[in-house]
Amino acid sequence: MGIPNYPVHLEDPQLQGFYDGLAAGELRITADPETGAFVWYPPEVVPGRPDTVLEWRRVSPEGSAYSFTTIVRSLLPGDHKDEVPYTVVLFESDETPGCRVPGVLVDADGLEPSCGMRLRLKPVQVGDHIIAGFAPIR
């Protein structure tokens, strides 16, 4: 299996918190400090309350795959044909069901990806940047 190599573009600086978490080996999800509710993905404007500033919270690195797909032909801009195939999972932490974090499936040799498969966060260094990776809990 390959690994995608595409730069992280943080047009919205609040998203840096996600990558700060990965660098610390943690999964972080945004929450509304007033209501305590997780709000994910962090929207530009929190619905109905545009002045709200979301905060990052560490959540359990263990969870399951809501869905997945194995990318055989990369549609990323540029030439990425040497990076396929790889499997992307939409991961849900056990603490934040419904909040889905896309990440690359790693350390899964011999396992068929499936919805519901148990996973644990395992950030992956790709060149000069880090991305979300998830490894099966065996």
Binding site: P4, Y6, P7, V8, H9, L10, E11, D12, L15, F18, W40, Y41, P42, P43, E44, P47, Y66, S67, F68, T69, T70, I71, V72, R73, S74, L75, L76, P77, H80, E83, Y86, V88, L90, G98, C99, R100, V101, P102, G103, V104, S114, C115, G116, V126, H129, I131, A132
Partner: protein
């Protein structure tokens, strides 16, 4: 808004090509003039225009086709197929019933081969650029592939069942001289189609098309004196979800839950008909998975049974509920939503030769675009 007040009186399109040589303006002008002539009108008779935020507007198109009076013009504010196959009809009826204009022109075109590709707008989404593209989750086939895997988990779906959607539409395209892909395709042919994102192959995806279409909407009372049998808008409904584009494909509680049930309920209520009354349907087939789910949402089969509905052959030529009789977007051509609507009109007019659905009088047209969905009920009066 009441049904059976306005009709589609003219339709036209360019050839659908994998790679054309004409500009989008040029193709749209061709389609507009074809639709206007089909309605037995001249450009000077067109006094209403409904544009689309993705293509040139009436400032340019009015000049290109020789309009004289743009008494009414508007732009649809929903994405993809929802706009030309649903929302434009609502705007056209409002304008005609308000007495603002008599004949409304609705054009749409696509130049899939334009520089930057068809996924450029996804790359401009900050959330996708920050969270999805670095892990390689990018492009419509990838998003819909994740939907297909979740659908299979929730409802069960074999490779053969998924393949039957593409095979069904190809069987119709073989009968359509104007379809873009007319080479027959069976299960073995489907399996030879390149895998893009599992389980979706190229054959599960809509075509890459350069082309344009247009139609004319007029009051039913006027339509009776125009060249073709009257094909009226009996019902039209729009459904929406509240997830913006950057969030929709991953965070929708059920990622394949398009707002199609809501649009269908509104359209059927307005038309005072139900799915069992239909003779055929045109379903927005950006992908096989989204088409089979919308087939369920239209009520053509039970929820969770869409893949088996296709596999059992009900939508094929000779089946009890023909779907996408031009070949749809996956084999006929991809001008989002509008060529499906036009196929519905042509079927109800009759005379389509080998692909004509016998006795077709009532057709549903489903349009999907981003977080919105349209259902339109066409009827021959």
């Amino acid at each position: 808004m009441q049904g059976n007040k306005v009709a589609i009186t003219g339709v036209g399109e360019t050839a659908f090509l994998r790679k054309g040589t004409k500009t989008l303006m040029h193709m749209m002008a061709e389609a507009c003039l074809s639709a206007i002539a089909d309605a037995g009108l001249t450009p000077a008779d067109i006094d209403g225009y409904i544009g689309n935020r993705m293509v040139p507007g009436s400032d340019d198109m009015g000049h290109a086709i020789g309009m004289k009076d743009r008494a009414f013009s508007a732009v649809t504010d929903v994405a993809g197929g929802t706009a030309p196959a649903g929302q434009a009809l609502i705007l056209a009826q409002l304008a005609i019933e308000a007495g603002l204009c008599r004949h409304v022109l609705v054009p749409y075109g696509i130049q899939s081969t334009k520089p930057g590709g068809v996924y450029g707008f996804h790359a401009r989404e900050p959330l996708k650029a920050a969270l999805e593209m670095p892990v390689g989750f990018f492009g419509q086939p990838t998003y819909f592939a994740a939907m297909a895997n979740r659908y299979a988990y929730d409802h069960g779906m074999s490779e053969e069942e998924l393949a039957s959607v593409a095979i069904t539409y190809r069987a119709w395209a073989v009968l359509n001289p104007n379809a873009q892909r007319r080479d027959p395709m069976d299960l073995e042919g489907y399996r030879q189609s390149p895998m893009i994102s599992t389980p979706l192959r190229a054959a599960d995806c809509c075509l890459t098309t350069d082309g344009a279409c247009a139609y004319v909407v007029s009051a039913v009372d006027r339509a009776r004196d125009m060249p073709h049998p009257v094909v009226q808008i009996s019902g039209v409904g729009i459904g929406t979800s509240n997830f913006p584009h950057g969030i929709l494909f991953t965070q929708n509680p059920c990622i394949y839950d398009y707002p199609g049930a809501a649009s269908a309920a509104k359209a059927y209520a307005m038309a005072d008909v139900g799915p069992k009354d239909l003779d055929l349907a045109q379903v927005y087939d950006g992908f096989s998975i989204s088409a089979l789910v919308q087939t369920e949402m239209l009520g053509l089969c039970e929820r969770g049974e869409g893949a088996r509905f296709y596999h059992e052959g009900h939508a094929r030529p000779g089946g009890r509920m023909p779907v996408n009789t031009s070949g749809g977007h996956m084999s006929g051509g991809y001008v989002p939503g509008i060529n499906l609507l036009i196929e519905g009109v042509r079927q109800l007019r009759g005379g389509l030769g080998a692909r004509q659905v016998s006795g077709a009088r009532l057709c549903a047209v489903a349009g999907l675009g981003g977080n919105s969905h349209s259902t339109t009920i066409l009827s021959r009066s």
